[in-house]
Amino acid sequence: MKDPIRLLDLAGSAEDLEREVLRCDEAMAPTERDAALVWGKLAGPLGLSSALLGVTAADALRPAAGAAVGAKSVGTTASMLAFLKGVIVGVVACGALWGGGRLLEQASAPPTVSQPGSTAAGVSGRSPRAPQPPVTATPRETPPPPSAGSPAPSRRAVREVEPPANVASTASGLSAGVPFRSSTAQFGEAEPRSGALVQRESALKEEAALLSRARQQLRAGHLASASQLLEESRRRFAAPQLRQEYEALTIELLFREGHEAAAAERAKAFLNMFPGSPHANRVKTFTSSSPAP
């Protein structure tokens, strides 16, 4: 029985807003801190020891080639699965894998990774009226949310051992190609959050509020007001965290002011830099001189 066509694959049938909504979640990858946190919670119940793992955090968190979710890496998965089952059976045959045994002597620390790569911190000295130079930063511009308030690890699922006290003792960060978002917080950073992180979050809120006002003015047709707000955003946030949104609004403003050629040029540059951006569909409408929908 044939599957229906996916909404994102429908050519022209799915509404633009539907596509934007479906794609907006794509950049919400977990951070390396999230991964390390959960790994640390697993280590105790599963009897994992950092010394026995034999992998670095970079190895553990970097995706294997072609192993993206949804990729048909059946061969790799099947062989790994077979290996896992073989190893498990062997260990069980030698005497309990879980239950019984001696106390762990060594805390199990999650694997370490190298220092975080840069986020898309934006380009300083941006101009609202000129195309941005190409950057190599990742399209993931938004910082990770506060670590979920970092509540104390739940004990519900940990039936056997307490998570070792020094489980989170190793600094970690992102290396290039890791699927997790960069985190400004080093793994193992003690709570409460650092002042730098709090400042960054505060700046993000301010930037978001300013861009939100600019967007409202723009959509209401108050172009001068929208222009002033975008200029204020450019001045106040030289290293913007919401760079893609700023850029998308600037392109739209250019278009609505009648500078269609400039808007089209800048839109093309945007799509080259951020092909997977949730703003891509809207920006795409400004790549020609035809009226935007």
């Binding site: 996916r6 979640d25 034999g54 294997a64 979710v69 762990l104």
Partner: protein, 189 residues
């Protein structure tokens, strides 16, 4: 009471677990969030999923696709969380069709991207979990109808039927938002 503790695992097994974790952590995280767990619940939810995964691996049929099976585990964990949240009165109520509405409003989103994500969340929250599970798996994770049927242990026509209903809810929520935005902006230039 003395709690039993596990023996350290072998290096080979530990490395294999790390590999499996590496390949599927982001998928589990995304799935749990899309199936309804709040951000603050994701670490515990992911821990539950991987505990189950690691412990049930010996029972897994080698013919099964690992991702499909892990999705099924994630769905069960998400379902359990919803039930417990309801019992803790964190949900206003579940309507006749099983849709859940949160009691506490999430914090205001940051920027247009945040608004889009809030809208996605709203659309997903409007679906009963069985429809939501199919919609998330098919539209967002790219699993096939056959894979979803295997994960949920339902016939493929049932998958298609739930998908159709879920799409209807999704489009209705987005259309309402589009109408609201048009009214607020006045459509003026």
């Amino acid at each position: 009471m003395m709690r039993a503790v596990p023996r350290p695992v072998s290096p080979e097994l530990g490395a294999a677990y790390a590999e499996l974790y590496r390949q599927h952590f982001a998928f589990v995280w995304r799935s749990l969030r899309r199936l309804g767990l709040a951000e603050r619940e994701l670490p515990d939810g992911a821990q539950e999923v991987f505990l189950v995964v690691f412990r049930k691996l010996p029972e897994l049929d080698l013919a099964s696709r690992l991702t499909t099976w892990i999705y099924a585990v994630s769905l069960r964990v998400a379902s359990d969380w919803r039930r417990r949240a309801h019992q803790r009165h964190e949900l206003v109520g579940i309507d006749d069709e099983g849709s859940a509405q949160p009691m506490v409003e999430p914090p205001p989103p940051d920027g247009e991207l945040g608004e889009l994500r809030a809208l996605l969340r709203k659309a997903l929250d409007s679906m009963p979990l069985d429809q939501r599970a199919v919609f998330v798996a098919f539209e967002l994770e790219g699993l096939s109808g056959e894979e979803i049927a295997s994960a949920l242990k339902v016939p493929i026509p049932t998958v298609h039927s739930r998908l159709r209903l879920a799409r209807g809810r999704f489009r209705a929520v987005v259309a309402r938002e589009r109408g609201r935005a048009a009214r607020e902006s006045g459509g003026a230039r």
